[in-house]
Amino acid sequence: MDQHPSHAVLSPFVSKYPRAASGVFQAYNDLLYAQQWKDLEVVDLPKCSRCGFRGRKAETASHDAVLSVVPCSLSESFSLSWIHSAFEEFGGPQEVYIAITAEDSSIVYYKISQGIVKPPL
C-alpha cells in the first residue's frame, strides 16, 4: 500500500483513523482517478473520526463549485448527529456528498442537503 501514489497524502489519516482507512483510500482514489476531480484536498474531520475531501468536478457545467465528500463504509452505522457534525466540520456548506464504499470496491455517492430541498425537475 505504501507504494501507492495516494499513500503519501493519506498516510497521516490512515494512522490516525485506522478504522476508516479502507473507505478513505477507496473514495480518494475514485474521486481522483475515476471521477477526475480537480484540486482534490484532504480535510480532517475529527468529529467524524476520519478525513474527508474537498474538490471540484471534472469538466462539467458546475465545475466551479467546491464539493465536500465524507467517506463511509457500507458496514458502518451512523446517526443524524454524525451527519450534522460532518456539515459542521466542512464549515457549513449547503450540501455534503457521502461516499458509500463496499468491500468489493464498488462506491456510490449520495448528496445530502440541509433542510427541505426540492429535487431537480
Partner: protein, 310 residues
C-alpha cells in the same frame, strides 16, 4: 363547552378518529390542509376500493395536531350514545314508519299513473292473471306432489307478513334510511364525552397516541411540516412515513418522502441512504430524513438525492 362547539368533532371509536360530517371533511381539507383517508364503503359493495365515502379516518398525527391547534375536539362516540327512554324510542319508531308510508304512497301513485298511461288492456289482464296464480300458489305452499323435488324443509317460522304487524305490508319496496351520523338522535349527547386536549382524552382512556418517543417524534415532524404549509399523506407506497405534497394531493404530486428519526443518535445505516435515495431519485422525489431532538424539542430535515456520479 361553548368554545368546543365551534371546533370540529372527531369521533373516537376503538382509538381511531373518524369524521362523519362532509362539511367538516371539506373544512379540514380546504382550511386546515388535513386530508385523512376516506374509508366508507357501501354495505353491499364492501370490496370497493376506488370511490370511498364517509367516514374519513384520520392519521393519529393529524388528530394530535388538530387538537393541539384547538381546531378539533375528541368525542368518545360509544359513550355519547345514551339509553333512549321509551318516549324517545316511540317517537323514533313513529318517524321511521311515517317515512316508510310516505315512500309507499309515492311509489304507488307513480306506478298507477304510469300503468294508466302505458299499459294496454291485455297487458293489465295478463298481469292480473299472473298475480292471481301467484296468490293461489302461496295459499297452498307445500304438500302438493310436484315434478320438482321439494327440498326437505325445517319447520318454517310463522309467516313473516302475518307476524309483524308493525311493518307495513306492501308489494312496493322501500328504503330504510339509517343516518350515518348519530347526532340527530335525541339520546345522543356528547357533552360528557368530549375532550378538548390530548392529555384529558389519554387520562380518560379514550385516546393513547402519542405514547412513545417514536410516536412523539412523528407528531412533531408532522406538525413542523404542516406549519410549513405542506399537505401530508401516508408514505408507505414510497417506503417512508409520510408523503409530502406542496398543495392538495388531488392537484399536486408529492415532492418528498419523509422518514421520521426519533433521536439524533438513532442508528442509521448507509444502506438506508442508498435505498431511499435511489428510490426517491427514480420517482422524482427527494427523500427527507426528519430528525426529532426530544431535549431541544426541535425538528431538523436533511434531503437525500443520488449524487449523479459514481
Amino acid at each position: 363547552m361553548t368554545e368546543s362547539n365551534e371546533r370540529i368533532q372527531l369521533r373516537i371509536s376503538n382509538k381511531k378518529a373518524y369524521v362523519w360530517d362532509v362539511d367538516d371533511i371539506a373544512t379540514l381539507r380546504s382550511k386546515h390542509h388535513i386530508c385523512g383517508v376516506l374509508t366508507g364503503t357501501l354495505p353491499h359493495l364492501s370490496q370497493q376500493n376506488v370511490f370511498l365515502g364517509v367516514p374519513l379516518l384520520l392519521l393519529p398525527e393529524e388528530v394530535v395536531l388538530l387538537v393541539e391547534k384547538e381546531l378539533a375536539v375528541l368525542v368518545d362516540d360509544p359513550s355519547a350514545h345514551h339509553t333512549p327512554d321509551p318516549l324517545a324510542l316511540e317517537k323514533w319508531n313513529d318517524e321511521r314508519k311515517r317515512t316508510v308510508q310516505e315512500q309507499i304512497a309515492v311509489a304507488g301513485a307513480k306506478e298507477s299513473k304510469e300503468a294508466g298511461r302505458s299499459m294496454t288492456e291485455a297487458a293489465i289482464r295478463k298481469r292480473r292473471e299472473r298475480e292471481e296464480k301467484r296468490a293461489k300458489r302461496k295459499a297452498q305452499p307445500q304438500g302438493e306432489e310436484d315434478l320438482i323435488p321439494q327440498e326437505p324443509q325445517a319447520p318454517l317460522p310463522p309467516h313473516p307478513q302475518s307476524d309483524r304487524p308493525s311493518t307495513p305490508s306492501s308489494s312496493y319496496t322501500y328504503a330504510l334510511l339509517i343516518s350515518s351520523s348519530s347526532s340527530s338522535y335525541s339520546w345522543y349527547d356528547a357533552s360528557q364525552s368530549t375532550y378538548a386536549t390530548i392529555f384529558s382524552a389519554q387520562r380518560a382512556g379514550v385516546w393513547i397516541y402519542p405514547s412513545t418517543l417514536y410516536e412523539r417524534a412523528r407528531c412533531a415532524v408532522f406538525r413542523d411540516l404542516w406549519e410549513k404549509g405542506y399537505f401530508m399523506g401516508v408514505g408507505i407506497k414510497f417506503g417512508g412515513d409520510f408523503l409530502i405534497y406542496p398543495g392538495d394531493p388531488l392537484r399536486y404530486h408529492s415532492h418528498f418522502v419523509a422518514t421520521v428519526i426519533e433521536s439524533p443518535v438513532s442508528t442509521l445505516r448507509p444502506m438506508e441512504i442508498v435505498a431511499h435515495g435511489r428510490l426517491g431519485t427514480a420517482t422524482k422525489k427527494a427523500h427527507l430524513l426528519c430528525g426529532w431532538d426530544d431535549e431541544k424539542k426541535e425538528v431538523s430535515h436533511l434531503s437525500i438525492e443520488w449524487a449523479g456520479f459514481g
